[in-house]
Amino acid sequence: MKRSTLILLKTLTWIACLGPAGLLAYQAVTNTLGPDPTANIELTTGYNTLLLLILSLAISPVRKLMPRLTWLIKFRRLLGLFAFFYGTLHMLTYVALYANFDVHAMLADIQKRRFITMGVTAWLLLVPLAATSTNWAIRKLGGKQWNRLHSLVYVAAVCGIVHYWWQVKPGVLSPLNLTLVLGVLLALRPVLAWNQRRKMRAVAA
């Protein structure tokens, strides 16, 4: 890929990723966040966290299935970090607007409410991944170690989806679409790994 094309695509990705946050900021300033601003902020940031996390998880399988798209790897870190950015906004919204900065209330919530426990777990799992996202950290850890650490992203995504299901009312199916996509991605992993091993054996033989 030409360098200029890459820069253009990266710029567009940045704009797309910043879009929801920019819109929220604009709406907050103009007081047009809708009837329930707090819920709007919480839902928008939460949904985009999961969406970006799942998009970043889709990159490896897509590359394996379509070798022409291998350059997509250049976008994975960007998507992952934006997922962390939205996850952090999501958590801060809870801290400020839902819990009113009440530490006792938050501790009680984390202890008693499984959807909050699960959400906090998902966010905590993303912290070391975001922290080791630099080229320096990748070199320091070594590819194998780094890959092993970053497979935690699957756990985080599953925690995030479970958090979503536990938050909605029983019988409400709004998390279904993201769940299905994540399910397909998780199921694809062993299939693609098996396929690759088969190919390698074929080459060796």
Binding site: A28, I41, L97
Partner: protein, 330 residues
């Protein structure tokens, strides 16, 4: 007036929910048949107006003004939530699970003709026509706080009269201990009802003394006008000291019972939604605290406020629950 008119089917045959669903199907069939006949007539005569005369009116414009009187039972000292927010942010799962869905999808709710069937433990089963319900008693302006179990709240100027006045006309037997409200259900009109796994029709209920409390409102309007479809047209219940889902919308049947009726959310998740569902900051929802609430229509930094016991109506309704363990009977 349809009061006192014999019901189409004997009460012995209309006790089950299945039967109710079939009844809804018949309603729909009759309506469709009437429409078809009217349209056919119009085609033969070539007169458009014939269709207008014979086709059943399926709605009354939401901006139809109602004659109302003041009420001493109205809540004072609260800033009203805007008409726009009340009508564009609410739950009515038959029309979709998003808060904006009811406003988008409830247009097809056929609010005319509309009848409310009364049966169960009553002297005689009856059917009330909506237009007679509107004239039974003077319509009062009643501002109430509205607290959703999801932690958001509003202040809504409802129009209606005490449910007790209606119940007295129903002549319940002394064996009637509970009253059940069934909402309109037609999966062809409410095709969004499949977005959740709820078993329709929506059912809610109250203990008899709760239903007879003067604050419990038989509601036909809001902001001085006919109820907008998405807010439960043409007639709904409003029980201001309970979480919003207890206030069933678009009522087609009222049934008096000697035992606790099955209610929709309680059946979906009994640990989360008790039969009583009184607003209570000291009883947590299993998934979140109920101590705080978010007032709709305020900027994000000014939304949060304390939730009050019985939604601020403790002085009026507290005695209904004297000696009861409110945690156990949540």
């Amino acid at each position: 007036m349809l009061i006192g008119k014999k019901p189409d089917i004997p009460s012995s045959a209309i006790t089950s929910r299945d039967e109710y669903v079939r009844y809804q199907g018949r309603r729909r069939f009759l309506r469709t048949a009437a429409k078809t006949a009217a349209v056919a007539g119009a085609a033969v005569l070539g007169v458009e107006r014939v269709a207008e005369i014979f086709a059943p009116r399926t709605g009354v414009l939401a901006d139809t003004k109602l004659q109302t009187v003041k009420s001493p039972l109205t809540t004072t000292g609260e800033e009203l939530t805007s008409f726009q927010d009340i009508t564009h942010y609410n739950n009515f799962y038959e029309f979709g699970v998003d808060k904006g869905d009811p406003a988008k999808n409830a247009g097809g709710l056929p609010t005319r003709p509309w009848t409310v069937r009364v049966d169960g433990k009553v002297k005689n089963p009856k059917t009330f026509d909506i237009d007679s319900l509107l004239k039974l008693r003077p319509l009062e302006d009643r501002v109430y706080r509205h607290r959703c179990v999801e932690r958001w709240s509003m202040v809504i100027p409802w129009v209606g009269y005490s449910l007790s006045e209606f119940i007295n006309l129903c002549e319940p037997l002394s064996s009637a201990k509970y009253v059940q409200f069934l909402s309109y259900y037609d999966k062809h009109v409410e095709k969004w009802s499949s977005e959740s796994t709820i078993f329709w029709p929506y059912s809610e209920g109250l203990r008899m003394d709760e239903a007879m409390h003067p604050l419990a409102l038989l509601t036909v309007g809001m902001y001085g006008q006919v109820l907008p479809n998405q807010d439960g047209a043409p007639v709904r219940i409003v029980v201001p000291w309970k979480y919003g889902y207890k206030s069933a919308k678009s009522i087609v049947a009222v049934r008096f019972l000697d035992k606790v009726p099955p209610t929709t959310w309680n059946q979906m998740a009994p640990d989360e939604y008790g039969f009583y569902s009184n607003v209570n900051p000291n009883v947590d929802h299993p998934r979140w605290s109920q101590k705080l609430e978010r007032r709709i229509g305020q900027p994000f930094y000014a939304q949060t406020r304390q939730t009050l016991l019985f939604n601020g109506y403790a002085d009026q309704v507290g005695s209904l629950y004297a000696g009861m363990d409110l945690k156990k009977n949540h």
